[in-house]
Structures are given as C-alpha cells and as structure tokens.
C-alpha cells in the first residue's frame, strides 16, 4: 500500500490510543492518525477527512462502538470498521459482525491488529475493484446492446433495399418478356403483309397498272417502316431498363473509333472532324457508346448536303459534372421546337429530306437521364446544330 491510509480511531483511553498508535506507526508505512473520543469528534472527522478505515472501542462514556458502526455504515457502507476492544463478549462480537463490522481485535491480543488492518484494507481494495468491474461490465453491456440495435436497424434497411431491388428486377423481367412478345406478335402479320404484297406484285403484275404497282410498293415500304419502328421501340425499351455498369470511359478513344467506323459509309464526302481535349467520363461503356453513335450519325446525316462537313467535338469538367458537345454545320433546326428534339418518334425534318424514325435522340436522352445527367441542343435553321450532354463525375 503506497498511499497514506487515513485511520480514524474512536477511543476514550489515552493509554490505549497511544499504544495502538505506536503499533500502527511500526506496522504501517504511510498513514494519518485521527483520534476521537466522543461522538461529535468522530462524526466530524468522518465528515471532513476522507477516512479509509475506522478502529473503534466497544463502549465509551457517552458513545458506543455499535452506534459509531451504524453511523459509519449509513454513510459509507463499505468502509472497513474494526472493533478494538477489551471487553466484548462473544455475543457482542457476533452482533458486531452481523451489523457489518469488518473484524474485531481484542486489546490483549493486539498482535492481530496490524494484520487485521492490512487485511481489511486489501479486502476493501478488492471490493472497490469488484464494484468498478461491475460498473464497467454494465457499461459495456449497454454499449453492445446499443450497437446491436444499430446493426438490427442496418439489417432491416438492407433487407428493404434488397426487396426493392428484387421487385425492380422482377418488374424488369416482366417488362422484357412483355416487350419481346409484343414485338414478336407484331412482326408476324407484318411479314405476312409484306410477303403477300410481294407475291401479288410477282404473280399479278400484268393485271395491275402503274398506279396499282405503286400502291403495292407503298404498302411494302410501310411494312418495312413499321418493322423498323418495332425494332426501335424494343431497343429504346431495353435501354431504359438495362443495368448501368459504371466504369471510367476514355471518351477521346471512343469518339475517334466511332467516327472512323461511322464515316466509312461516307467515302467521297469532304468531312473535317475536330476533337479537342475530351475528359474521361464515368458511365456505362455500352450505353455511352450508343449516345455517341447516335450523335455522330446525326451530325454526319444532317450535314450531308453541305459541300464540306465540319464536325467539332469537345468537353470539359464543370464542378461535379463533365460536359460534352458535338457541333455540326448541317441543316440545323428551328429553336422554336427545341423541346421536341428528344421526344420519342419526334422529328423536326421531313422524311423525304432526311430519313429517320425519330428515336435516336430519345435514346440519347433516356441514357443520359439514367446516368443522372442532362442533354440539350442549340441550332439555327441552315446553320448547323450543337448538341450537349453532361454526366456526373461521381
């Protein structure tokens, strides 16, 4: 024991107190000794000093050990309290222990005193440690309980998310099956119409005049058109549902490669293609590829009536998004109808001027929107158009 033990001694005999004090002096290394011979001083010391252990006589003139014990136990239920008494009697001793005394030492056997004090202090120390351990354990338990609650909550949320995802997957599958069978069922009659019109024109052409044959031709053309529309709708629907797999995309490589393959169909045309620095994008490789295919094809298509086709592509990072643009010097469009550009089957040019279904930009819009971005365009009739889209950097 390396800190000073504060000993409070309740004893009215000076001789006994001196004897016991000297025993303590020789037996205990660091201590402070407080002597009280009456109730008032006893209570006072107890109050003002941080007493570690009480030694008490059994009976004093105006006070007695049991009272002192009661007082001490009321305030400090765990403080070591040793009776040091001459005449105690067995019953008194037993009573004292039952009332909570830690030990008792007889005055004519004081060799037991120091060991008793040391033992009492040790047990007290252990008791304190035990109580602290209990408190720590309780705290730890509460902590674990709280964490458990947290984990249960997280689990619940994950389960919900999972169920949501499952629902979506099922819905997608159903939609896919529906789209497939719809397009399927629509194709068969188309094939029949086209087929029998063809037979008609082969077998019965002699019975038909020029107009009749032209009518048949128109029917064939229309069935072909309808076939394309069905295909386009299917593709559009698929793009709306496909899982987005985001990776880093080297836009410059993608655009350069696409331009090469798309412009192969335009040999003989004077095409100038300028790509300035293109930042990488975060997106689904297949879908973003489709976006560029549509935009570049459009740029090439709508500028084919110009002597020289000039297409500029560029991009930059702005805050949390990457913006790309493609500018052509082609037919352009009337800004009045700009909001129709990205609609499904919407066209701003006559079919006889520029063929097309009107699904390309709708696809672009769908894909970019699914990426969390936006697309828009600027143009002037006869003076080209610029298409913009952005994707989050994420």
């Amino acid at each position: 024991m390396d800190k000073k033990i504060k000993i409070l001694h309740l004893e009215d005999s000076i001789r006994d107190s001196e004897l016991i004090h000297s025993l303590i002096e020789s037996g205990i290394i660091g201590y402070e000794y407080f002597l009280a011979d009456n109730e008032k001083d006893f209570k006072n010391f107890l109050e003002t000093e941080n007493i570690d252990i009480i030694l008490s006589d059994y009976s004093l003139p105006d006070y007695n050990g049991n009272e002192a014990l009661k007082v001490a136990r009321e305030k400090y239920s765990y403080m070591p309290f040793i009776f040091v008494s001459g005449a105690m009697g067995e019953d008194a001793a037993i009573n004292a222990m039952l009332n909570g005394a830690t030990d008792y030492v007889l005055k004519h056997k004081l060799d037991r005193l120091i060991p008793a004090i040391i033992r009492a202090m040790k047990e007290h120390e252990l008791e304190i440690q035990r109580k602290q351990a209990e408190i720590d354990l309780k705290e730890k338990n509460e902590e674990i309980k709280a964490q458990n609650e947290k984990y249960i909550q997280i689990n619940k949320e994950l389960l919900l998310q999972y169920e949501e995802k499952e629902k979506q997957v099922t819905a997608n599958k159903e939609l896919e099956a529906f789209s497939y069978s719809v397009s399927h069922d629509l194709r068969a009659p188309l094939r029949h119409i086209g087929g029998f019109v063809d037979l008609l024109s082969k077998n019965n052409s002699s019975q038909l005049d020029e107009t009749g044959l032209r009518y048949l031709n128109t029917i064939s053309e229309s069935t072909r058109e309808m076939g394309n529309l069905i295909d386009a709708l299917l593709t559009f629907s698929r793009f709306s549902r496909a899982e987005l797999q985001r990776t880093k995309i080297n836009s410059k490589n993608m655009v350069t490669r696409l331009f090469k393959s798309l412009s192969d169909d335009y040999n003989g045309r004077n095409i100038e293609f300028n790509i300035s620095e293109l930042p990488d994008a975060m997106g689904d490789e297949n879908l973003i590829n489709q976006v560029w295919v549509n935009l570049i094809s459009n740029a090439l298509k709508y500028s084919r009536n110009k002597e020289k086709t000039i297409i500029d592509i560029g991009g930059k990072i702005e805050n949390d998004k990457t913006i790309y643009f493609i500018k052509d010097n082609g037919a352009g469009f009337d800004m009045k109808y700009a909001d129709k550009l990205f609609g499904v089957f919407q066209r701003l040019h006559k079919a006889r001027d520029f063929e097309g279904i009107g699904i390309g930009l709708a696809n672009v819009n769908r894909i970019i929107t699914r990426h969390g971005g936006k697309c828009w365009a600027e143009g002037e009739v006869g003076n080209g158009a610029t298409f913009f889209f952005n994707v989050p950097n994420n």
């Binding site: 497939y180 399927h184 194709r187 068969a188 188309l190 094939r191 029949h192 086209g194 087929g195 029998f196 019109v197 063809d198 037979l199 064939s220 069935t223 072909r224 076939g227 069905i230």
Partner: protein, 148 residues
C-alpha cells in the same frame, strides 16, 4: 449417290408463313416435294408414318422447323428427332421468328444444323428460303436413309 427426289418437310403452325415459304421455294422449283406439318405432333406423325401421313414413304432431305408452335414446340420436336437413330442425321434448320438467345443455344445444343430468324422484310425472307432450299435440298448430300 442418292438421286431420289428431295423432300422438304415444313413444320410451322402459321399457314400464311407456310404459303410464303412454299412460294419462295417455288421460285427455285423446289415446291414439288414439300410436306407441311402444322405442329410438332404432325411432324412426328410424318416421320413415323402414322396418322394422316400413314401412306407416305421416305425421310425428308431437310426439315424447316419453326419453334413457336402450340402443344409441342420446335425444341421438343428437335429433341425427339435427334433421339431417334432413324432420324438423327436428317438436317434440321430452325426457321423461326424467335430471336431469343435461349432458343438459339438450345437448338444448337440439341443438334440443329442451322438457325434462321424469319425477317420482317419479305424480300430477305424469300432470299433466305431460296438459299436454304437450294443448299439443303439440291446441293447438299442428305444422309443415307438407314444409317446408324
């Protein structure tokens, strides 16, 4: 060398598609020995020479098999054909409107010789049938009738 007449078995539940197919084959003069089965059961009836085909003889040189049919679909029919040693070797071409990868894979796994999707464009369809007919019923040597 087998110089006998090359029969073409068409298995398809759509009479319109059948008529268009026959018209296409006719352009290559292949329409004379065309047999039509309107579903899987009839196809097997023909192969096993029972039911309405009880009086027929000989194996077809090639089978044009649709997939989407009622009762027994084309995949089922293909399975049957390939599991019988009498018919195992007959060339089977899936001529079907199904573009589904699942059907494609199953067909090839079960031993189809070819898989053609009926195009919407009738010119393409006719061309395909003509080419197929020309190849399988004229140029190609069908397996001998009773090989194992």
């Amino acid at each position: 060398m087998n110089t006998e007449v090359k029969r073409i078995l068409i298995v398809d539940d759509s009479p319109k598609d059948v008529e268009l197919t026959i018209a296409a084959l006719a352009e290559k003069n292949l329409a004379n020995e065309v047999i039509v089965a309107e579903d899987g059961e009839e196809a097997l009836d023909y192969l096993y020479k029972r039911g309405k085909f009880a009086n027929e003889i000989g194996n077809p040189a090639v089978i044009l098999l649709d997939i989407k049919m009622p009762k027994m679909d084309g995949i089922e029919v293909l399975k049957h054909i390939r599991s019988d040693s009498n018919f195992k070797l007959i060339p089977v071409i899936m001529v079907t409107s199904s573009r589904e990868e699942r059907d494609l894979v199953e067909s090839y796994k079960l031993g189809a010789n070819s898989y053609v999707v009926k195009p919407v464009d009738i010119v393409q369809f006719i061309d395909a049938i003509k080419v197929l007919g020309q190849y399988w019923a004229v140029i190609n040597q069908p397996p001998p009738e009773h090989a194992q």
